[in-house]
């Protein structure tokens, strides 16, 4: 199985297995709004993310503390970004934590975030930015 790896020079930390079934696509403005790291300016902004419901699915990952309110407020306009997961519509909710490389600490490579379904039911998932890692 393909492993997703840290894209930054001299790191190559193995983050998690790539699984097609976990893929979701968010609007491309998500990178700027959530201040996600990309390996280069030329990196394609595909909007693709992998959804992990269990943080233990990761082989190597760093998880930040709770994002403080002032930073979270800056990311707030990222809320309401829409995507489809398991063939159902969802929107991004409250940004909770950032995911970074467990070995070189670079990132953010993804987020821990609340998501809301059409009925407004909330759950927390881990979203790894596929444009921010190497397959």
């Amino acid at each position: 199985m393909t492993k997703l790896r840290c894209p930054f020079a001299g790191c190559d930390s193995c983050i998690v297995s790539a699984e097609e079934g976990r893929k979701v696509v968010l609007p491309a403005e998500v990178y700027d709004k959530l201040r996600l790291a990309l390996p280069s300016n030329q990196a394609p902004r595909s909007g693709e993310f992998s959804v992990f419901e269990d943080i233990w699915d990761f082989d190597n990952i760093g998880v930040s503390r709770q994002v403080p309110t002032e930073i979270e407020a800056a990311a707030e306009n990222a809320q309401e970004l829409r995507f489809t997961w398991k063939e159902r519509p969802y929107t991004l909710g409250k940004l909770q934590k950032y995911l970074i490389c467990a070995d070189c600490d670079r990132g953010p490579l993804g987020i821990v975030c609340e998501i809301l379904d059409a009925e407004g039911a909330r759950e927390t998932v881990n979203l790894l930015s596929l444009a921010s890692v190497l397959a």
Partner: protein
């Protein structure tokens, strides 16, 4: 404590590991616990807003005798300054690293205090490890012999470390995980013998292959 609390049983049928271990770093402020968890300041690449937020925990996967073991590593996040480390922090910890700074005698003499705090709050089964950090520094105040003598007195293993050397740091986590795994395996052996009289080695193992990196 936020983050991962329990391993959801729903993921057990497709789990990507053989076992998981919660490991804590404790010791005085300034001994470099965070540096063992997060890379040394000079080669840090995190953007400043991540540095400001700080790291809650890390998950690292190691291979121990063919078993894929996931370690969850926690730092006290500076709570030790206020002596407010709660019992919740220690709950479920299978490994605890007691850290002192070899350039600061006071942090070394406080280890006994940390040892008794840990014994008070942590699970009796938790595997302890004494680590003398910053061993690369010229201004050493605590000798390796002193560290070894204290470890012997407390009955726990001992290593010196420098957070500047990544390999060394990863070795510490690996060593501790290996000690915990050996403890689990030996207890499993004793437990199984006690119950049905037959030794059942590796009964808890499954077919998932360790294929990380």
């Amino acid at each position: 404590m936020s983050g991962v609390r329990t391993v959801s049983s729903s993921s057990a049928n497709a789990k990507s590991y053989d076992s998981i271990m919660k490991i804590l770093l404790v010791g005085d402020s300034g001994v470099g616990k965070s540096c063992l968890l997060v890379r040394f300041v000079e080669d840090k690449f995190s953007p400043s807003f991540i540095t400001t937020i700080g790291i809650d925990f890390k998950i690292k996967t190691v291979d121990i005798n063919g078993k894929k073991v996931k370690l969850q590593l926690w730092d006290t996040a500076g709570q030790e300054r206020f002596r407010t480390i709660t019992t919740a922090y220690y709950r479920g910890a299978m490994g605890i690293i007691l850290v002192y700074d070899v350039t600061d005698e006071r942090t070394f003499s406080n280890i006994k205090q940390w040892f008794s705090t840990v014994n008070q709050h942590a699970n009796d089964e938790a595997q302890l490890l004494l680590v003398g950090n910053k061993s690369d520094m010229d201004t050493r105040a605590v000798s390796t012999d002193q560290g070894e003598a204290l470890a012997k007195e407390l009955g726990i293993p001992f290593v010196e470390a420098s957070a500047k050397d990544d390999t060394n740091v990863n070795d510490i986590f690996f060593l501790l995980a290996k000690l915990i795994q050996e403890k689990i395996d030996s207890e499993k052996l004793v437990g199984n013998t006690g119950r049905d009289g037959s030794v059942n080695v590796g009964a808890a193992g499954n077919n998932s292959k360790s294929n990380c990196c």
